[in-house]
Amino acid sequence: MPASTFQPASAYTRTAIGLHWLIAIALAGTFALGIYMPDLPLSPQKLKLYSWHKWAGVSIFLFVILRLVWRFGHRPPALPAGMPRWQVRLAEGTHHLLYLLMFAVPLSGWLMSSAKGFQTVWFGVLPLPDLLNKDKELGDALRQLHMLLNFSMAGLVLVHAAAAVKHHLIDRDDILARMLPFLAHSGAKK
């Protein structure tokens, strides 16, 4: 396999893989909770779920920072040489946009909570500063924004995942296996 010629950059680090999946799973759960919770009738359970959603979102935000710091120190492996230019651009553009959204989504949630007059107290212990004063209209607008960013991210993730699966099943390259090493087509050990 040609991968062996680029030994150091031929693979994602374990850390990068770990963070990718940790954040992906956490995002999926937080997203589902976000969809589920607003329509519940007000109850202690609902207040708990809102808090958990906010705590999870803030935690994800911190993991995304960690992930970016790691990313700056560890370039991703190069894409296969035979891949068309537009595909490489599209893949990289999607990744950058996903990084941006992974920041913007929790940030918009935090701002929305501030504007709605509900501070975020991380895990019930650490109060985050309220960046905005209570303002109902702004709060409603930020909810729209939070939703819009969320659905943009969800759409992009679907495209991203579909592309990964397409690489695996149709192109039969090792792109997906770089993120899921046990899927490697060849038995070759790196």
């Binding site: 007000l42 109850s43 202690p44 207040l47 809102y50 808090s51 007059g117 509900f118 501070q119 019930g124």
Partner: protein
């Protein structure tokens, strides 16, 4: 008649000289628009601000005779703003204030004890939702011109009045302690 006349002359002179009013004043005209009644409760450890918009007080306070002071206080519970529309709808319901059955909360002071430094301890009975409890709170009185403001804060335990029954009875989501802050203004005229 004669002494009345002298008194008013003296009062006139005193006010002309801008001397501090040494004569007995009684603050008893409650100024609703200048007063406020707010609270902070905690849900999931998140402090949330709220307030009551409609309340009335009958106050009669003579700084020279504080122990003779009278105070009565009524709150229209439906005028609550508990931080969001959801919360406002919820707290009007049976589990919380049950404002249909019990629209008004009432406090009647029974004793006023000077603590020095314009501070007083006001004790009395608080009735909410058909339950009456003893309540005492420190009050700071400050006078400006012909008005006086009465400020204080106290912690009220919601469970004492069955505010937040049933599924809400557990303090894990909404804490028992409600921090209350009042600012009441009364004038002498």
């Amino acid at each position: 008649m004669k002494s009345n006349l002298t008194l008013s002359c003296l009062a006139l002179i005193a006010s002309l000289l801008h001397a501090p009013a040494a004569q007995a004043v009684e603050f008893k005209q409650f100024q609703a628009a200048k007063s406020s009644l707010s609270f902070v409760y905690k849900q999931m450890n998140v402090p949330v601000d709220g307030q009551f918009k409609n309340f009335r007080a009958r106050i009669a306070f003579d700084p020279a005779k504080p122990t003779a002071a009278k105070a009565e206080f009524e709150i229209d519970l439906a005028s609550i703003d508990a931080g969001s529309k959801d919360a406002n709808d919820e707290v009007a319901g049976k589990a919380w204030f049950d404002t249909k059955q019990f629209p008004v909360a009432k406090f009647v002071a029974s004793s006023v004890k000077p603590l020095g430094n314009n501070r007083y301890e006001v004790a009395g009975k608080m009735s909410i939702k058909g339950k009456t409890q003893d309540l005492a709170t420190p009050v700071t009185v400050s006078q400006q011109g012909d008005g006086a403001s009465f400020d204080g804060s106290l912690v009220l335990k919601r469970a004492d009045y069955a505010i937040g029954d049933g599924v809400w009875a557990d303090f894990g989501t909404v804490a028992n302690e409600i921090q209350i802050k009042f600012h009441l203004v009364a004038t002498s005229k």
